[in-house]
């Protein structure tokens, strides 16, 4: 695929039914990209596809969907295969799906911890490996994965979630180096606090963003193949400071 080419792209999105994935899929569909949606819950998928079709003004049935469960790695290959067939090729693979749980709940429930680490790290990596193989077989493409600013430093309130995201971020960084010459562009998105269903119970801090702002930045990053994008924009400089804080300061501040 010719990088940075203008014109509609063939995009598969895992996680388009909610939150930032929903906003991103809407933006891509509205500008004419051709989408295929992956996720769980047939009803949820069908409703999200209807929403995308009406917003994009395309006829019913033109956006496809397949079941793909981040908890079930055996579903990955089949779902991506279906997407590729339906789209007649693949230019961009987006992963916004993930799991979040509060640190206190995770600490009191080992099963929940295992589930979160598996979904947010192991299985996301397995999905990316599958997607990567398919993109490389086509001569390249863009893999855009949502990690988190929570993975930038070890922090008390998100010790476990942050660790999974830190692992994911490092993996994506390595993937970008390893296959850059072969035409694979890896875009790692690091959202700060964004007001979505996932963060619905939490008190938004200053600079909390809207999914639409994130979507606008991510679409641009996908077009340009920007390897790393903080979103909303304020989190870039904020994390610039936090990444440089000495350890003794990190220990003191309880944030």
């Amino acid at each position: 695929m010719d990088q940075g080419a203008r014109g509609p792209k063939r995009v598969v999105v895992l996680g388009a039914t909610s939150g930032m994935g929903r906003a991103l899929a809407r933006r891509m569909a509205a500008r004419g990209d051709r989408l295929h949606v992956l996720g769980i819950g047939d009803d949820e998928l069908a409703r999200s596809v209807a929403d995308l079709e009406i917003r994009a003004g395309v006829r019913s049935g033109s956006i496809g969907w397949s079941r793909c469960d981040l908890e079930k790695p055996e579903t990955f290959a089949g779902a991506l295969e279906e997407a590729e067939t339906k789209l007649g090729g693949l230019d961009v693979v987006v992963v916004t799906a993930a799991m979040f749980a509060a640190q206190a709940d995770l600490e009191s429930d080992a099963k929940l911890t295992q589930r979160l680490l598996t979904i947010d790290f192991t299985n996301t990596v397995l999905f990316c490996e599958e997607a990567k193989r398919r993109l490389l077989a086509r001569g390249g493409g863009t893999l855009c994965v949502f990690s988190s600013v929570a993975g930038e430093r070890g922090r008390k309130p998100v010790a476990l979630y942050g660790a999974a995201k830190a692992g994911l971020t490092r993996y994506l960084e390595a993937l970008d180096h390893k296959h850059h010459a072969e035409g694979l562009r890896v875009v790692t998105v690091k959202p700060g606090f964004v007001k979505t269903g996932m963060t619905a119970g939490l008190k938004p801090p200053p600079f909390a963003g809207e999914p639409e702002d994130v979507a606008a930045r991510v679409v641009r990053a996908v077009d340009r193949g920007t390897p790393e994008v903080y979103a909303p924009v304020a989190w870039g400089p904020i994390m610039g400071v936090i990444r440089r804080l000495p350890r003794f300061v990190m220990r003191r501040v309880g944030f």
Partner: protein, 446 residues
Amino acid sequence: MANGNGSGLSMIEGWGGIGVPGRELRSENLERVTERAVLSRGLGRSYGDSSLPPASVGEVVNTTLADRLLAFDEETGLMRAEAGLSLFALNRIFLPRGWFVPVTPGTQFVTLGGMVASDVHGKEHHARGCFGEHVTRLKMRVADGRVLWCSDEQHGDLFRATIGGMGLTGHILEVEVRMMRIPTAWILQESRRVDDIDDFIARLKDASHRLPATMGWIDLLTRGKNMGRGTLMAGDFASPDIAPKRFPKPLPRVTMPFELPSWTVDRWSVRAFNTAYYWKHLPREMHGIVHWETFFYPLDMIRHWNRMYGTRGFTQYQCVLPDAAGPSAPRRLLEILTSRGGASMLCVIKNCGPEGKGILSFPMPGTSIALDIPVRDDTQQLVDALNEFVLREGGRIYLTKDQFTRPEHFRAMEPRLPKFQEIRAKWDPEQRIRSAQSVRLFGDKP
């Protein structure tokens, strides 16, 4: 940043800025989140306490994450969507394609669910009725936990009680409504200066015979023979032969960055604003093509304009005076306001057509008057005086705007209330679904 701690209570406010401590439950999945909730709210644009939970509950569902379009028929305009979809989003999607909601309130920052619960009306009420007239079906979660569809044919009593029922009959999950074809997204508007309130009543009637959308703005600080002077605006979507070829560009928006101290909304600033607005309209009569947002949603251009009213907040008082009260009734209502030295930054006057199907819907044939009233120590007495007048004249108030009405006044104004309560009792015998407003006005358990 996610701090993993969501237990803290914050304030939930109505648009008038008066709130209660509590929290909003948000989810993209309305069916799940409404399971045990007592009330749903959308964008919080109802002015008073109708979207606030009872104090003992302190918890309300916010529907705005549930905003998916589910079906649209290009032939008939029939559209179905989740209740949290905003009119703002709807306008951006459908106006460029030649479709518009058949009825719009004065702001786009409302959700479909809220438009049904308030059974919103607009400048076009005399021509097209309330929003509920165009709603064909509703998907609801009712108090016993069931999720069901209602319409004219199916659970008709629930349907008619939900339209204009202030969210008190259950949680609205999905709305199906028939959209309206429009020739272009431009408005052909005529406007004119009007000398006094009596002139206003006559001209409103005349304009509404000719044009579907009509409203007037009144300067309330002029008294005597000029009392009720203002500007009358009327219009309709422009036909392609006179409208510009391109789709109207988005208009710039400004944000009111913080609340002004309350003393800034004094008589002098209100007078200056109103005088400037009146004389802006220098020629007596103007015709022209205007942007749809300028015509339908002038206040949307200033985000958080409610902050102009300062830290004490404000209330809006909107009533309808029936035609039977005679053409002098609006003048007498305004005299009550001015005789008490009441300042109102904004006064909007409209014609209302026939009653719709919603059992508690606000409009009735007559004249609707809406007043912004900054909260002062004597606001309660002012609202009481206005309500006593409206009651005597056989009118009623709009619950969506209300914060200060007393239950005895409300009940006396609403002969339809027993019917509404009967349907509510059938669907919700334990009175689970309720709001701060229904506790205050309907006598629900706190």
